[in-house]
Amino acid sequence: MLARQKMPQQDPKIRRANFKEVALGFSNEQAVEEAKRCLQCKKPKCVEGCPVEVKIPDFIKHVANGDFDSAIKEIKTVNALPAVCGRVCPQETQCEASCILKKKGEPVSIGRLERFVSDIELAKGVEKPQKPKPTGKKVAIVGSGPAGLTAAADLARMGHSVTIFEALHASGGVLTYGIPEFRLPKTIVNAEVEYVKKLGVTILLDSVIGKIETVDDLLLDFDAVFLGTGAGLPVFMNIDGENLNGVYSANEFLTRVNLMKSYRFPEYDTPVRKGKRVIVVGGGNVAMDSARCALRLGADEVTIVYRRGEEEMPARAEEIEHAKEEGIQFRLLTNPVRIHGDARNWVTHIECINMYLCEPDGSGRCKPMPLAGSEHKIEADVVIIAIGTSPNPLVPRTTSGLEMSKHGTVVAKENGETTKKGVYAGGDAVTGAATVISAMGAGKIAARAIDDYLKTK
C-alpha cells in the first residue's frame, strides 16, 4: 500500500508567532500520488460519511488522472464551500473514518485533496456558474454562516431568488468571526462567499433580524424563510470572578482577533488584551483556536484547562496535535472553581480543582468529578472561557409561533421544517453547537424541503 502523503506545514517554531495558514497544501505531484491510493470502492463507504454527499471516489479519480478542473466541478455540484470543508471538516470522524484503507493503515486524505482542487480553482479564478430559469419564488435566509450559505447556494441553483440577511458587517458567520486566519484564511471564506453570490444570491450585511426586521416581517415579502442563526451566545461557567477585566468569552476573544483583526492593532482600531500567561478553559476546537491565537498575540505561556482527559476532548485530532507542536500546555482533569483579581478588577489567577472520571454520563463520556482537597492556583492575566455556546434568542424571541426547546434551540423536523409555516431552520440553531459540515448538511436538506414547499405554493 502506498504511504499517505504528508501535508507540508509551517514550522511550529515559526508559525507560533504569525497568523499565516499552518497547513500549506499538497503540491500537484503529492495530490496525484495521494489520489492514486484510493481503491475506487464500488460501494464507497466514505460518501456515507459525508453530510453533504460529495461523490468522493469520482472526484479523487479525476485528481489521480491529473484532471483537477473536473474534480472541483464534481465537488461543486453538491458542495458550494469546498475550500472551507477541506480545511475545517473533522474528516477523521466522517469520510476518512469510513475509508477502507483505514482498516489496514491510513485512510486517503480526502479533506486535503478537496482543499487542493478548491485552491487550484480559486487561484485560476472561479468559473461563472450557469443560472437556472427563475421560479419567481423568493426565499430569505437569516445568517450567512455554513448552514445559510449552503441553503442559499442550493436554493439559487434551483432557480429561486435568495436574499441572505447577515447581522455582522462581514459574511461567513463562524467561518469569519470564529475560525482563525491561520486555520481558515479569510480570503478563502470571501472567495467561497463570492461564488455563492455569483449563483445569484444577494447578501445584506449589517441586518440584525429580530431588530431591523422580524421573521414575521420577512414572510410578507418572501415565500419562505430559512433560519441559519447558529449558536452565537457564549456560555459562562457562573463562577466567581468571571466579570473581571481580562476574562473573555471565546466568542469575544475570537471575534476581536478574527473579525476585527485586533492582532493587527493599532493598524486596526479594535484592541484585545495581549496576555503573558493565558488560560483557556475548554477542550473543543474553539478552545484550541483561542489558545493558538493567544500564543500568536505574544503570550509566554498558554495553558488549556480541561475537566476531562485528552481522549474525551471534542477538538479535531489535528488541532490538538498542532496546538501541542506550538507549545500549548495542557492541564487535563482540571476544572476552574473561582477566578481571582486585584483591586483594579484585573484577573490575577484562577483557582482550580483536580477531577477524576467515573461512570459514563448521558453524553456517553465519563462524568468528571472533583477530587476533594486538590484545589490549586494558576497565575493568569488573561482567561478565555471556551466551554460552549448556545443559540442566540434574538430571532426566536421576536418570531410568533416558533417553538423552541428548553435548551433554546429551534424545534425542527429532520427536513428543517419548524412549527411556523414557511419557516425552516438548520445548523447550530437547531442542534446546538456542532460542526461546520453538519450545519452545511442541514442547510442542504432544508433547501430540498423548501423547494418542495415552494412547489405547493
Partner: protein, 281 residues
C-alpha cells in the same frame, strides 16, 4: 446602500450631531435603543445611543463627543461622506407609559438620548421634570429642545456659569425632598453621575432607570463584552438592556470594565493624532 451623513453640526465644542441616512433602521427605531457603527475597514465597532429618528426622511440622529480615536475621526467626516457600517436598532426600547410624574436627568452628552425619552414621556401624558447638566454653560446641549418637551426644566453647571452651580443630583434631591410625588427617574450620563442619581433616589424608593454604555463589539449578544452585574446577576447590556434598574446596578464593576482598554485607547488616539498632525514619531 451607503450610510451617508446628511447633516453634521458641532453643537457645542467637541460635541457633534449627525443625521445618517438609514431608512430601514429609522423605520423601526424606538427611544432608548442604540446603533453600532464602524467608520471604515480598519475601524472598531462602537455603540451610540439614538438621539432622534425621522421615519419619513429615513434618518437616524446621533450625538457624540469626540473623546478618543473613533469619535474624533467620526467628527472629521463631513456632510456627504458615508459611514461603512451602521447597525441597528439594537437593545430594548425604553419603557414608556403614563406613570404620572417623571424626572429625566441628562448629563453631558447624555442629554441627547434623554431627549427622545422626555418627548415620549410627555406624549404619553406624564408630567415631565427635566434636569440637564454640563461642566460649563458653553457645553450645555439641546436646552431649547428639552424645554419644548418638559413641564419644568432645570439646568446645572459644575462651574456655575449657568443657573444652578453644582450637580444634577442636587436638583433631584431638592425635588424629592420637597415632597413632590415622583413616579420614575431616568438618568443618562457618565457612570459617576448615574451612580450618584441612584444614590440620591434610593432612600426615597423611587424607581430609577439608567442606560448603560458598556464596551460592546457585536451588540447582538454574541460576545459578552458588555456584561454588567444587575442585582447580582450577570446581564448583557446589549440585549438585556441597555436600560436597567439603577438601584441594582454594580456601577463599580461597570466603571472598571469601561477602563479595560485605557492603555490601548490612549495609544491608538496618540498614533492617530500623530498621523493627522504630521509628526514624525
Amino acid at each position: 446602500m451607503p450610510f451617508t451623513i446628511l447633516k453634521k453640526q458641532e453643537l457645542v465644542p467637541t460635541i457633534y450631531l449627525m443625521d445618517i441616512n438609514a431608512p430601514r433602521i429609522a423605520k423601526k427605531a424606538q427611544p432608548g435603543q442604540f446603533v453600532i457603527l464602524r467608520i471604515d475597514e480598519t475601524g472598531e465597532r462602537i455603540p451610540l445611543t439614538i438621539a432622534d429618528f425621522d421615519r419619513k426622511k429615513g434618518t437616524i440622529t446621533m450625538i457624540f463627543q469626540a473623546v478618543g480615536k473613533t469619535t474624533t475621526k467620526l467628527s472629521t467626516l463631513k456632510t456627504g461622506d458615508a459611514i461603512l457600517d451602521f447597525i441597528g436598532p439594537l437593545g430594548n426600547p425604553a419603557h414608556i407609559e403614563n406613570e404620572g410624574t417623571v424626572i429625566l436627568v441628562g448629563g453631558g452628552v447624555g442629554v441627547a438620548p434623554i431627549f427622545p425619552q422626555a418627548r415620549a414621556f410627555k406624549e404619553a401624558g406624564n408630567k415631565v421634570l427635566s434636569i440637564i447638566g454640563a461642566r460649563s454653560a458653553n457645553l450645555l446641549l439641546w436646552e431649547d429642545r428639552m424645554r419644548e418637551v418638559s413641564d419644568e426644566l432645570y439646568i446645572t453647571t459644575d462651574d456655575g456659569t449657568k443657573e444652578h452651580h453644582g450637580f444634577v443630583t442636587d436638583i433631584v434631591k431638592k425635588i424629592l425632598e420637597s415632597g413632590t410625588k415622583v413616579d420614575r427617574v431616568i438618568a443618562i450620563g457618565p457612570p459617576v453621575m448615574m451612580r450618584a442619581v441612584a444614590g440620591v433616589t434610593r432612600p426615597f424608593n423611587v424607581k430609577t432607570v439608567v442606560s448603560l454604555n458598556s464596551i460592546m463589539v457585536d451588540g447582538t449578544g454574541m460576545c459578552g463584552a458588555c456584561r454588567v452585574l444587575v442585582g447580582n446577576e450577570t446581564k448583557f447590556a446589549c440585549v438585556d438592556g441597555p436600560e436597567f434598574d439603577a438601584h441594582l446596578v454594580d456601577f463599580t464593576l461597570l466603571m472598571n470594565r469601561l477602563s479595560m482598554y485605557q492603555p490601548e485607547e490612549k495609544l491608538a488616539f496618540e498614533k492617530y493624532k500623530c498621523v493627522r498632525e504630521g509628526c514624525k514619531c
